[in-house]
Amino acid sequence: MVAAGAETPAAASPRRPRPRRVAAALWSLPPIAALALVFLYPLALVVWQSVSPEDGGHSTAPYTAVFAEASFREALTNTVLLAAGATAGALLLGLALSLVIAFVPFPGGRALSRFIDLFLAFPSFLITLALLFLYGSAGLANGLWTDVTGAAHGPLDFLHTPWGVLLAEVTYFTPFVMRPLLAAFSQVETGQLEAAASLGARPWRIVRTVILPEALPSLAAGGALVLVLCLNEFGIVLFTGAKDVVTLPMLVYTKALLDGDYTGACVVAVVNITLSVTLYALYRTVMSRTGGGPAFRTGGAHRAGA
């Protein structure tokens, strides 16, 4: 029996020496301080403002008031439906395009893949403007129609409806799904695809049973990213000029800048943030239990951010 306090060297070895742990803690202080200053402090101010009614004091009354508004409930519904719809559309389109780019060799495929990277750098409003030029009431498509038929108006008049916002969001966010998917597809061994084909699998079965299971974590990561970005999207909704499509970020803008209701705006902002963080947490939980499980980890580094 080992006497208390007589710790063997073998037992002690896994513990890091104290000076190294102190040094590691010191190294982590600057980034934590910077994060607190530029992110946590403003966030705390927003939360604090949301429980500070304009008649003084602190209470949850602003929340009760905002939750009772029909405009808030409509904005919440719009936000969730648009985000879910745009995510589903971006996932389907992104998956189809990525499969073609990665596995169907065609001239210009590599250039298209590079363009996806460039597309990610575009601001969202630019895509909306482009869609306006194409499909807007005075856009190219309608102009062509009126030139040809002599009609006073073109047939396309949907950009300011929820469908227009959905189209713009799917167009803009699809590359966000494609980038991680293309990276995952490039890691799928050609040998596996050939083995599957030689065993009698047709292309769709290979996609379904070999490629997709291996790319599932990337697909989920792309989908989660798009979902969170869509929940917070402001520029696209603003630029389509869809007055009837009020989302949570638009409601924040309206309350803060047009109505001067800062507390109400902060309440809506807190709800928006909570929604995003909750969905992100849900995504991480699901991934750690399924797609991100050990079956998919084939030797990658398990660092923070991996």
Binding site: Q192, A195, A197, L199, A295
Partner: protein, 387 residues
């Protein structure tokens, strides 16, 4: 172990049915070229037949075209000319999933997200094998490859050798008539490779109906496993024959040097065709009917058939060479001597010597006339016509 029966013909999806166990492969003038105008030829008019149940090794250095030849059978490379037949069926234009072949590649290519049993069942499911039949077939294939105890594991939980066995089981589960093995042992260490070679030989005995095309650059694998070896070099078939034939009677210099180690000496056939002249001395070797007197030729003698001394210990006819020792290497059970004979390097692999000759020492070597093979000059550059 039961021999594989003919593949169950799936009623709903007849297309990918295997061609049957007695299939065999035929390359009929198969060429593969790349480039805009087909200027890079990687396989040049290959004519070759793998008989039903035969193991044929495609042996050659990197870039010789052997893997390309295998991939034309699998359907992953489209020939620019010629036909590929499996059994009597022309499969040249068929997609891979309709060819009914089993394939094992160097890097195993197991599906990492599936357990071993699911990997092995993959081909059966793809070919719409009746659901009730699948567990039995999976168990049979895993049993055959000694992996039955690992059915519930993921590939990442297995060693390289075990993964290759699973890959083999996966290919065998569909009971293919043709099995393509593309450098299947190259990723394994020497000890595992030796064990797997014995396993493959056993499997072939248990599956006598399966034709195997075995691509390798390793002469030991080819000599050990193959019923016949086809030697490829620079996109062309250089030689083809049984391992014993190619080793003992190589028809080209390339075959002689690639299948085993060889001493290749430039000689001239004597006018009376009673032996050859080498560096001014006469050597007694059998001269074939096709070799004219006065013709240039290459004499091939295997190093292990070259003995020390002017004569064999037991007497008998022998050719004697004299030269200077330039290098001595100990190789465990043998020594390798490098001897310079009139400016030509001659290797001798005697059994381990108690006393080794010193560097620079003059020694005599001998070899029996019947141990030498004469390669006519016409076949030294290109033996394709004789393969």
């Amino acid at each position: 172990m039961p021999a594989p029966a003919a593949p169950a013909a799936p009623a709903r999806n007849p297309a990918p049915a295997a061609p049957g166990p007695a299939s065999g492969i035929r390359f009929d003038g198969v060429s593969v070229s790349y480039g805009r105008h087909g200027e890079h030829t990687v396989l040049d008019a290959l004519d070759l037949t793998v008989a039903p149940g035969e193991v044929l090794a495609l042996l050659g250095p990197s870039g010789s075209g052997k893997t390309t030849a295998l991939r034309t059978v699998a359907g992953f490379v489209q020939p620019s000319a010629g036909r590929v037949l499996i059994g009597d069926r022309d499969v040249t234009g068929l997609p891979p999933h309709r060819r009914g072949i089993g394939m094992v590649v160097q890097q195993y290519a197991l599906f990492p997200h599936m357990k071993v049993a699911d990997n092995v069942a993959f081909g059966l499911r793809a070919r719409k094998t009746p659901r009730a039949e699948i567990p039995g077939r999976v168990a049979e294939a895993l049993e055959m490859t000694g992996m039955a105890a690992y059915a519930g594991r993921h590939p990442r939980e297995l060693s390289g050798g075990q993964q290759q066995r699973v890959a083999l089981a996966r290919a065998l589960a569909i009971r293919p008539g043709v099995l393509l093995l593309d450098e299947p042992l190259s990723a394994l260490d020497a000890q595992l490779r030796s064990g797997m070679l014995a396993e493959l030989a056993r499997l072939h005995r248990e599956l006598p109906g399966v034709s195997i095309l075995y691509v390798t650059h390793d002469q030991i694998e080819a000599l050990t496993l193959a019923d016949r070896i086809a030697v490829l070099d620079r996109a062309r078939l250089r030689d083809c024959g049984t391992p014993q034939d190619l080793y003992r009677r190589p028809r080209t210099e390339f075959t002689a040097s690639f299948v085993g180690t060889a001493n290749l000496l430039p000689v001239t056939v004597r006018a009376d065709r009673d032996g050859v002249d080498f560096a001014g001395r006469r050597l007694a070797v059998p001269v074939g009917d096709g070799t004219a007197g006065g013709a240039a030729a290459t004499l091939c003698v295997r190093p292990h058939l070259v003995g020390l001394g002017a004569r064999p210990p037991g007497g008998g006819p022998a050719n004697t060479l004299r030269g200077t020792v330039t290098e001595v290497q100990w190789r465990g059970s043998t020594h390798r001597l490098y001897v310079a004979v009139d400016g030509h390097r001659v290797l001798a692999d005697p059994r381990e010597l108690r006393t080794t000759p010193a560097l620079g020492e003059e020694i005599a070597l001998h070899f029996a006339p019947e141990d030498a093979v004469l390669i006519p000059a016409g076949l030294t550059e290109d033996g394709a016509g004789h393969a």
